[in-house]
């Protein structure tokens, strides 16, 4: 493929991946499916009955891998067997995946809340009715975007993996990244806004999640509103970087042109890792200087 066209395809892949990452994180925020959900699960046991959607169908990577696989399989059947155009087929595939995900979400919240009946946690049917379509909408976006990434990689950039398998793999990676980045914004900040900004959660405050919203009782959509300002888009940037940079280094130095080019692409990848490392160190340095320590150094004062 012409280098310019492949760069254009890469840009499209990067954009689709960014949307996939952002919607994946927001889906897990509105439905509370992540490590941060441990607090939503714990709250009623500590006496804090809440109105937060509590699903956690599975770990995010596994759940997203399932969604993406279902969507891509549906799309591939429509393309190969029924002769649908790929774009139309990917939309229908993503719709099927969203419906499957919606059904899992409802059974998950029903099961989880029912098991907490002894802690007086009610099952709010209006909550299920209002949140499930939102969860499905984000699941649709994630599946569609991930399927677009996989489709373009297989059929335009000639990646050797089968389309559905690649979609499954990107599903695991997007879940892994969403769980590792954006969910921190929900777990460490949004759920515990009553504690001062600039602290990790004290273990003794576990389960004491905020239950009152800006208007009425807080629910998953309130959390979605907050996390869509920072955590969600940042997750998108992260997944976009993984997909884009991983493919970009192979386009800049194409290994098909020889072993030396292959090694150069690997070196370029390592340069990226080192640059991010320096950036990470710089943030560490500046935050230490600006935020300051939590405790005084009593040991050194005593010696002075």
């Amino acid at each position: 493929m012409e280098p310019l066209i492949s760069m254009g395809v890469l840009a499209l892949i990067g954009a689709a991946a960014t949307i996939a990452g952002a919607s994946e994180d927001l889906e897990s925020d509105v439905g509370s499916q992540s490590n941060a959900n441990s607090q939503v699960q714990l709250a009623p046991q500590m006496g804090y009955v809440h109105r937060i959607y509590n699903k956690a169908i599975a770990g995010e990577p596994v759940s997203n891998a399932l969604m993406c696989t279902v969507g891509s399989t549906g799309a591939l059947v429509l393309i190969k067997h029924f002769g649908f155009s790929p774009l139309f087929a990917l939309v229908i595939g993503a719709l099927i995946a969203a419906m499957v995900h919606g059904s899992y979400s409802v059974t998950a919240i029903m099961g989880r809340e029912a098991s907490q009946a002894r802690f007086k946690q009610p099952i709010y049917l209006d909550l299920i009715r209002s949140h499930t379509p939102v969860i499905m909408a984000f699941a649709f976006l994630t599946t569609f975007s991930t399927a677009v990434v996989s489709y373009l990689m297989v059929y335009s950039l000639e990646h050797p993996f089968p389309f559905v398998l690649l979609s499954f793999l990107w599903g695991v990676v997007v879940g892994s990244i969403g769980s590792a980045t954006g969910d921190v914004h929900l777990g460490a900040e949004r759920q515990f806004q009553q504690i001062p900004f600039g602290e990790g959660l004290n273990a003794s405050q576990s389960g004491q999640i905020v239950r009152k919203g800006e208007s009425g009782l807080r629910n998953g959509i309130d959390n979605l509103w907050f996390c869509s300002k920072f955590g969600g888009p940042m997750t998108g940037v992260s997944f976009g970087m993984v997909v884009f940079l991983g493919a970009w280094i192979l386009e800049v130095f194409n290994p098909a042109d020889g072993v030396a080019m292959g090694w150069l692409s690997n070196v370029l990848g390592m340069v990226i890792v080192i640059v991010f490392g320096i950036w990470n160190w710089h943030i560490e340095k500046t935050t230490r200087e600006e935020f300051g320590p939590f405790k005084e150094d009593k040991g050194e004062e005593a010696t002075a």
């Binding site: 490590n35 941060a36 441990s38 770990g59 995010e60 990577p61 596994v62 050797p160 993996f161 398998l165 690649l166 793999l169 990107w170 695991v172 990676v173 879940g175 892994s176 990244i177 769980s179 590792a180 980045t181 969910d183 921190v184 914004h185 777990g187 460490a188 900040e189 600039g198 602290e199 990790g200 959660l201 004290n202 997750t235 992260s238 993984v242 940079l245 991983g246 493919a247 280094i249 192979l250 194409n254 290994p255 292959g262 692409s265 690997n266 990848g269 890792v273 991010f276 490392g277 990470n280 160190w281 560490e284 340095k285 935050t287 230490r288 320590p293 939590f294 405790k295 005084e296 150094d297």
Partner: protein, 254 residues
């Protein structure tokens, strides 16, 4: 009937490569700073997700990179190197964005609770740990450890992928050898390597029990046990995989 001995005999070297790959994956998981659920609440240092999920996410990024390179260039070093770099880039992108969220979204600085001074930057750590937590964020030592882990895990996954592709494309007597682009071969090999990666990242998670910060964490010293266990577990896995992929090649890739 498939000639099992005929498949295994020419591929003994690749069986050894798969076993070494599995052992490398197992050791690599100890380097990756897994904060688990507590890290998602800025309650522990590291990346806020589970051991297996994070390691598998990185390993899979490596496998995707190895697959892309293998179809263009079959040089051993380039393919295995691409897998290592692919995994390291995935972890690097995750960690830098994680640091943004800890620093600007939660307002905490990266700090370790397992050591008093960062072994690399020599920054004081204990004063910067907020009350009731086991550290938060990704300090420099953790970033470096994670990069080593990503490279090593990707190397292991790349070794297993390359070895099985070589088993599948070996010119066995009386059959036309498969090509590296054969969809069935690539699908079977990639699926096996993913499963192999999951198995070898679950074994060390019994050592890690929830969280680990990297090579400076006291739990890191337990790695030899997991390495031995993974080495032993990888032997039957490698034999079964080589027989399965070899059989696929013998029947002409279906």
């Amino acid at each position: 009937m498939i000639d099992i001995v005929g498949v295994i005999a020419p591929n003994l070297l690749w069986i050894l490569a798969i076993v070494i790959g599995g052992t490398l994956i197992s050791i690599s998981v100890h380097f990756i700073p897994v904060g688990g659920a507590p890290a998602a609440m800025a309650q522990a240092t590291g990346i806020g997700t589970g051991t297996v999920m994070l390691a598998a996410g990185a390993g899979i990024a490596g496998i995707i990179a190895a697959g892309a390179v293998m179809s263009r260039n079959q040089d051993f070093g380039v393919v295995v190197g691409a897998a290592a770099v692919g995994a390291a880039v995935m972890l690097a992108a995750t960690m830098i964005v994680g640091t943004w969220i800890y620093a600007y979204g939660v307002g905490v600085m990266p700090v370790s609770a397992k050591v008093k001074y960062d072994p690399i930057t020599k920054y004081r750590q204990d004063l910067y740990v907020s009350q009731g937590t086991e550290g938060h964020g990704i300090p420099t030592v953790t970033y470096v450890s994670s990069t080593i882990g990503g490279l090593m895990g990707g190397l292991g996954a790349g070794l297993a992928y390359y070895a099985l592709m070589m088993v599948g494309t070996y010119p066995y007597a009386g059959v036309t050898p498969l090509e590296v682009e054969n969809l069935n071969l690539v699908g079977v090999v990639a699926s096996f390597v993913i499963g192999f990666f999951f198995i070898n990242s679950v074994i060390p998670s019994y050592n890690i029990v929830g969280t680990i910060e990297g090579f400076h964490d006291p739990k890191f010293k337990r790695w030899p046990k997991a390495a031995v266990a993974s080495f032993i577990a990888s032997i039957p896995l490698a034999i079964v995989a080589v027989v399965a992929v070899g059989a696929l090649a013998l029947v002409g890739g279906l």
